[in-house]
């Protein structure tokens, strides 16, 4: 991801005009052709919506740079405003049709997340990382589900649920809460070009946290299923299956990673189509085989980065493909946002956002004491952990498939909380890098080096 070029006021004005024009165009066409039936209309609606999301997301994110908000917020906002609950430029059916892009986006995120995990950096900050992983995740899994159970009156879809079921949903919410945002972290890093302990720690923690989340998600989903589905039982066999699933995923991921290394080394062309093949077809094959495809892709990325010299090539290819896919993914997520439901959920979303951020601050202080971290980590080690993005939304989307009884409302609450985290997280992380004096040090080192 390269730093955005500085844009003048005329460019911003043009972007704003184009954005407004796009909304007007979509609404005008909806008025002209909205009532026409037929498959041809649906095809046109879907294609126009993807194009619109791409353009509106790109323009909105560029405009939000002025107020230093991250791109992701722009993508989400474009989707929310255009979606079926605000302007209705894109309807429910179209939003549902576009959900096919989710697996593609998540596979790319997982692949990139694995490729960002560099063994050398992991070894250097090993003590801090282990301490933070245990403390941050342990504390979050204790405090956030407890808050969820205590504040269940604020969460309408838990009303009428027996307490064990509420506890199960709270644990699932805890897993969502411990996800972080690699894309948001990388976006800030590309803007500020920092270097130092805080930077290394945040990159290592956020990238490795994906692995922790995937493992915890599998464990928690297996564990809570009997509490949510009366017929289901928890047995050791279930954990045996889980172990088989996780080990199998790592094995397939390793194989996939080695295949990718061979491909990048000996062929190296048409990487875009290979990524599409992975995201659209291989994901389904792995899911059909009942393996954990997020872990598979994380492992594959990790193998490519650390057991070959092809890591940067892979990251570069994902970066080129990713932005287009992410815009559609996040804009669709924004359009999915059930605003009427949000009206009733906002107190809960705000509460969970505040508790999650406070937990991260306390966790950072505890970690620093345990690992003997330097002052910048003690003061600001939490700031890069507030952002949430694709993985959280992806997990929430999976919940909808796994637990249809409450999955949709769970997803809406997740999008609301993620929106708040994404709004404030990157701002806090940038502030931390500036205050700790690490901003610009990476660029200076690169300049000096050259």
């Amino acid at each position: 991801m390269s730093a955005p070029a500085r844009k003048g006021p005329w460019t911003r004005l043009l972007e704003l005009g184009a954005l407004l024009g796009l909304f007007a165009l979509m609404l005008g066409v909806e008025r002209l052709a909205g009532s026409l039936p037929g498959e041809w209309q649906r095809t046109g609606r879907d294609l126009a919506a993807v194009g619109f999301f791409l353009l509106a997301g790109t323009l909105a994110s560029s405009l939000l740079e002025v107020v230093r908000l991250p791109h992701l917020t722009g993508f989400l906002l474009a989707g929310i405003v255009a979606g079926p609950y605000v302007l209705h430029a894109v309807d429910h059916q179209t939003v549902a049709d576009l959900s096919v892009v989710n697996s593609l986006a998540l596979s790319l995120i997982a692949l990139a997340g694995g490729a960002e995990l560099r063994l050398e950096a992991l070894r250097r900050g090993f003590r801090s990382l282990v301490a933070a992983t245990v403390v941050q995740n342990g504390l979050a899994l204790l405090v956030i589900p407890t808050t969820f159970v205590l504040a269940r009156d604020l969460v309408p879809f838990t009303r009428g649920m027996p307490l064990p079921a509420v506890f199960a949903v709270a644990l699932l919410w805890g897993v969502v809460a411990i996800t972080r945002s690699p894309s948001a972290v990388m976006g800030i890093l590309s803007q500020t070009r920092p270097a130092g302990r805080l930077t290394d720690f945040t990159v290592g923690f956020v990238m490795s946290s994906d692995v922790v989340v995937v493992v915890l998600l599998a464990l928690v989903m297996t564990g809570v299923r009997p509490l949510l589905e009366p017929g289901a039982t928890l047995s050791l066999a279930a954990f045996g299956e889980l172990g088989h699933e996780l080990l199998g995923s790592v094995a397939i991921g390793t194989t996939l990673g080695l295949l990718l290394v061979a491909y990048l080394r000996f062929v190296g062309r048409q990487v875009l189509l290979v990524l599409l093949l992975l995201g659209l077809v291989v994901v389904d094959v792995i899911a059909y085989l009942r393996f954990e495809w997020l872990l598979t892709f994380l492992t594959a990325g990790f193998v490519v980065q650390n057991f070959s010299r092809q890591g940067e090539k892979l990251l570069h290819a994902i970066e080129n493909t990713g932005e287009v896919v992410y815009v559609i993914f996040f804009a669709t997520a924004g359009a999915h946002l059930d605003l009427p439901l949000l009206k009733t959920l906002w107190p809960a979303a705000l509460l969970f956002f505040a508790v999650r951020a406070a937990t991260a601050v306390v966790g950072a202080r505890l970690t620093a004491r345990l690992a003997g971290d330097p002052p910048e980590l003690r003061s600001w080690g939490w700031a890069g952990l507030v952002s949430q993005a694709g993985l959280a939304l992806g997990i929430a989307a999976r919940m909808q498939g796994q637990f249809p009884a409450f999955g949709a409302q769970f997803g809406a609450l997740a999008v609301a909380a993620v929106a708040l985290n994404e709004l404030f997280g990157p701002v806090l992380f940038k502030l931390a890098l500036d205050r700790s004096g690490e901003s610009g040090k990476g660029a200076a080192a690169a300049g000096g080096g050259s």
Binding site: Q41, A48, L273
Partner: protein, 394 residues
């Protein structure tokens, strides 16, 4: 075949296509206009072996639509440009004349057969349907493949004024069929959308200008791709919703981007890099959607193909009469204008999607037949003409 398997096959086709047509050394393998992909689709499709079923072919209709829009966008982006060289005004004028001759010749022949052969006319009793068939067939066959000239340059190593002139003409005649399709579709109100004459060209033009404005003066590839995909998808979707020509919208989008943006050369390079990954799957899909023609409809196919051959000969004669450079190729140059390329197939595919049934099926089948026949007649004729002109290294 499941959706997953179909998707896998299509991505594989795109992958192989990208390899064969990506980067330098374009058309390093295979036939000049990629007709083997048409035949592969035809053989694998429901009309022959049925490896790809009718339901799967129908499921990929949105991708086929998108591909036609994208091919038209690339054509618009490179209209009147051969590589990095701008084609002269003379070649552009000749290209338009060649396109108009073919359009008028084929359209007239089809209408004549429908009028004079009762068995053929009985298939299309409605006058509006006859007009649609004639215009669509004429438009699809009015394209002379630009890939044949590329093939001669890249595979045969041809170079000189004659090949430049042929390339210039084949890169300028696309305006005619696209304008014809734009007019036909924008005036057609059978789907309940009001007539918007030239609407496809207008929508694409506005989008292309906004695209150029947003692109500015410095090109960041990631932003370029977001905008290119975004405008292309939006244009295709809006054209479909307003029942306008997707081809006209894509073409106009590319053309106005090329006119208004100072980054046109970089845009051509970037967009051209994925040409193979789009064109060859589109050809495969077109082949798979093709139904065999039999009975009185063969009269129409034969009339269209003969008219196409006749207008190719006439076009070559006109070009030779006004252009001394073209005369150096001798009479062999005539058949070089018989080749129908991916744009012709894209036009036929868009007709097949817009007019499902007898009109769409007949236009696609005839265009596929013309493309395959042109593949065997056009390139050898061009090679002979270039040898005669001394433009092929011995």
């Amino acid at each position: 075949m499941s959706t997953l398997q179909s998707l896998f096959v299509l991505l594989l086709v795109a992958y192989v296509g990208g390899f064969l047509m990506g980067g330098r050394g374009l058309r390093g393998r295979g036939l000049p206009s990629g007709s083997e992909w048409l035949l592969a689709g035809l053989v694998a499709g429901p009309s022959a072996l049925g490896l790809v079923g009718g339901a799967e072919v129908a499921r990929f209709a949105p991708l086929a639509l998108l591909a036609t829009g994208w091919i038209a966008l690339l054509v618009g982006l490179t209209l009147g440009v051969d590589g990095e060289r701008r084609v002269g005004a003379g070649a552009v004028a000749l290209g338009v004349i060649v396109g108009l001759l073919s359009l008028a010749g084929v359209g007239g022949a089809v209408l004549l057969v429908l009028e004079r052969v009762p068995a053929a006319g009985a298939l299309f009793p409605d006058q509006e349907q006859r007009l649609a068939l004639a215009v669509c067939l004429a438009a699809a066959l009015a394209d002379t493949s630009r890939h044949v000239a590329r093939w001669a340059s890249e595979r045969l190593g041809a170079g000189g004024p004659l090949i430049e002139r042929v390339a210039g003409i084949t890169r300028s005649d696309d305006l005619v069929p696209i304008a014809a399709m734009s007019l036909l579709m924008s005036l057609d109100t059978s789907r309940g959308v009001m007539a918007l004459p030239g609407g496809g060209l207008a929508v694409g033009g506005v989008l292309g200008l906004v695209f150029a404005g947003l692109l500015g003066r410095s090109l960041r590839p990631v932003t370029f791709w977001s905008l290119l995909f975004g405008f292309s998808l939006l244009g295709t979707g809006l054209a479909q919703r307003l029942d306008l020509s997707v081809l006209a919208t894509g073409f106009s989008l590319g053309l106005f981007l090329a006119i208004a943006s100072p980054l046109r050369a970089q845009a051509r390079t970037l967009a051209g890099g994925v040409e193979g990954a789009v064109i060859l799957p589109a050809l495969f899909l077109a082949g798979a959607r093709t139904d065999m023609v039999s009975g009185p409809a063969l009269w129409i196919v034969a009339a269209a193909l003969l008219a196409r051959l006749g207008t190719a000969l006439l076009a070559a004669a006109v070009v030779a009469a006004v252009d001394p450079v073209a005369r150096r190729g001798g009479p062999g140059l005539s058949l070089a204008f018989f080749s129908t390329g991916p744009l012709g197939i894209a036009i036929a595919l868009s007709v097949n999607l817009r007019y499902p049934g007898p009109v769409g099926d007949l236009v696609l089948a005839t265009t596929v037949a013309a493309a395959v026949a042109g593949e065997f007649l056009g390139p050898p004729a061009l090679r002979r003409a270039l040898r005669r002109a001394g433009e092929v290294p011995t």
